[in-house]
């Protein structure tokens, strides 16, 4: 029972990170019409930048967080011009291939040029492991609480922007029909840039929470994360932002329960099993695709 409770807490923490990642992913799919396979690679890159920020500032968390968010936004904006011609043409598969190429380049840079190609470890102060709330045999670290609360706040802010602001209305309009949005005079290119900035910010925040939860990062983490994001997106329905959050929590729960009760490497197959299950039963996703 204690294992179940402990894993349930872990799953909520990881699930909330996946939810943030899927929000950014689906936002890009919905508004720009591209398939950002490399979104996970941008997140892992900003984890490395966070680590560099911590290293040069003697573990100043504010500097680390700033490095993570700024690098995620910068890398997002750097890749935007590459997707613009594909987005204009409606070449979704083409955008997936370009994104795969970008992801591969980022992985190669991470595995060869940063930290001499070795993985990175984050300081325990960032993980918040020193401060633990115990109840019975289970324990919750401050890092996990910060992850869940931070994800809820970031997600809440995003939904506020999406449903209560003019910009959010513009995102939804373009997501429904970019042709009609252009006819109505919406500045598609400027909104596209804004979407990349927001996705970058969400990616940077996810990177910080991942650093807190995992405590380590390596180049191979990017490909694993990319598969998980795609699994969640496919499971819920590609472009379905609300459904993505629920699917992310389901993946977090399934993964951590599998980690507790199955041999370690089999838990990695949970995301793949989810994909095959939804493909066979409901190819449009549980909540329907919006893209």
């Amino acid at each position: 029972m204690e294992i179940f409770i402990a894993q349930f807490i872990n799953s909520f923490s990881m699930g909330s990170i996946y939810a943030l990642l899927v929000i950014g992913f689906n936002l890009l799919v919905l508004v720009t019409g591209i398939f950002p396979y490399a979104y996970a690679h941008v997140v892992v890159f900003s984890m490395y930048m966070c680590w560099i920020g911590l290293d040069i500032s003697n573990n100043n968390i504010i500097v680390g967080i700033t490095f993570a968010i700024v690098s995620a936004v910068a890398l997002s904006l750097l890749t935007e011009p590459l997707f613009r011609p594909l987005s204009r043409r409606g070449a979704q598969l083409g955008s997936f291939i370009v994104s795969m190429a970008i992801g591969s380049i980022i992985s190669e840079i991470l595995s060869r040029n940063l930290n001499k190609g070795m993985g990175i470890n984050f300081p325990t102060e960032l993980k918040g492991e020193g401060s633990i709330i115990r109840f019975g045999v289970s324990a919750i670290s401050i890092g996990q609480i910060a992850t869940v609360v931070g994800s809820i706040i970031a997600g809440g802010l995003f939904f506020y922007i999406l449903f209560r602001t003019k910009q959010g209305r513009a995102f939804r309009a373009i997501g429904q029909s970019s042709f009609n949005a252009r006819l109505l005079g919406l500045p598609i290119m400027r909104i596209g840039l804004l979407v990349f900035v927001i996705a970058g910010i969400l990616g940077g925040i996810s990177a910080i929470f991942l650093s807190m939860s995992l405590g380590t990062a390596s180049a191979s983490l990017a490909d694993n994360l990319a598969i998980k994001i795609m699994a969640v997106a496919l499971f819920s329905g590609i472009g379905n932002i609300g459904g993505g959050i629920i699917a992310a929590l389901i993946l977090g729960l399934a993964e951590n329960m599998a980690l507790a009760y199955l041999p370690g490497t089999y838990s990695q197959a949970i995301a793949f099993a989810m994909i095959m299950l939804v493909v066979m039963v409901k190819p449009q996703g549980l909540f329907g695709t919006k893209a």
Partner: protein, 285 residues
């Protein structure tokens, strides 16, 4: 023959076969990467049979191919009508499912894989025999009614349906063929390297064959045939310090071609123009 030339010829042929799996699948508009999953299955099953039970290479090859077909049939039936992104993601998932399986089952060497495979003296001619058979098969397919049906299905599935083309059946059969070709490539790959590990198969190899197909040109089979050896062989001419950046070179090439020359370097127009210039060579149909 020098060892480096042998490896270059073998790996070029294997990657050409793999590239053709992507080309064939994309002929009907589905980006299907199942061939890499069946490449693992073919490689591991044949290696296991030869090493553990001392089987001869040819029967091991046949059994490996049957295993690939069995693996592919259920996903093929499920993915027949799948939207394009579902196909992409599901086929990548199959690669990682196969990888997780082979890494965890001790029969197949676990994380280290299988090694010490025997040298097959006739492997190179056999590889090229399969390459020629597959190439001729694809050429006949491209120039047949099936090839024209595939072109219509690529443009619009609904129009293909109204013209009487059963897209679901087409897709299932294509996936089985692609799975079989992947298995063939896997068997030859394992016995060329004389070792096999699940770590060989992942996003890296996916990027490599995607580069060969889309840079070479996805509208004809000649793009893959010409560019697989070029793109595989050219980086080996670079200094060792540059060779490690092979994946970055592939990534940059792929991005450039997808943005500025979507159909790849060798497209149908180039083939047609070449055909006109060489029209003094008459080929009877």
């Amino acid at each position: 023959m020098s060892l480096s030339l042998y490896y270059f010829l073998e790996i070029s042929a294997i990657f050409t076969i793999l590239g053709w799996t992507l080309y064939l699948a994309y002929r009907i508009g589905q980006l299907n990467n199942t061939a890499i999953a069946t490449m693992q299955i073919g490689g591991f099953i044949s290696s296991f049979l030869v090493l553990r039970y001392d089987w001869h290479f040819i029967p091991a090859l046949v059994v490996a191919l049957i295993a690939c077909l069995v693996f592919v049939i259920i996903p093929a039936l499920a993915l027949g009508r799948a939207p394009s992104f579902t196909m992409v993601i599901a086929s990548i998932a199959l690669i990682f499912i196969a990888k997780t399986f082979f890494k965890n089952v001790p029969w197949f060497g676990g994380t280290s894989g299988l090694f010490g495979l025997p040298k097959i003296g006739y492997l190179l001619p056999l590889t090229y025999a399969f390459l020629i058979i597959i190439g001729v098969g694809i050429y006949i397919f491209d120039h047949s009614r099936l090839g024209r049906a595939a072109s219509i299905a690529f443009m619009d599935r609904d129009i293909a349906g109204t013209m009487g083309i059963n897209f679901y059946l087409f897709s299932v059969v294509m996936q089985l063929v692609v799975g079989l070709m992947g298995g063939i490539a896997g068997v030859f790959y394992a016995f060329t390297l004389r070792t096999i590990s699940a770590d060989y198969f992942g996003i890296g190899i996916l990027l490599t064959i995607t580069t060969f197909v889309f840079v070479g040109g996805y509208t004809t089979m000649w793009g893959t045939l010409i560019f697989a050896p070029i793109l595989w062989g050219l980086p080996t001419l670079l200094p060792n310090s540059m060779l490690v950046y092979r994946n970055i070179i592939y990534g940059l090439l792929l991005m450039f071609v997808m943005i500025y020359k979507t159909e790849g370097i060798i497209d149908k127009r180039l083939i047609r123009n070449l055909g006109k210039k060489l029209s003094f060579i008459r080929i009877k149909k």
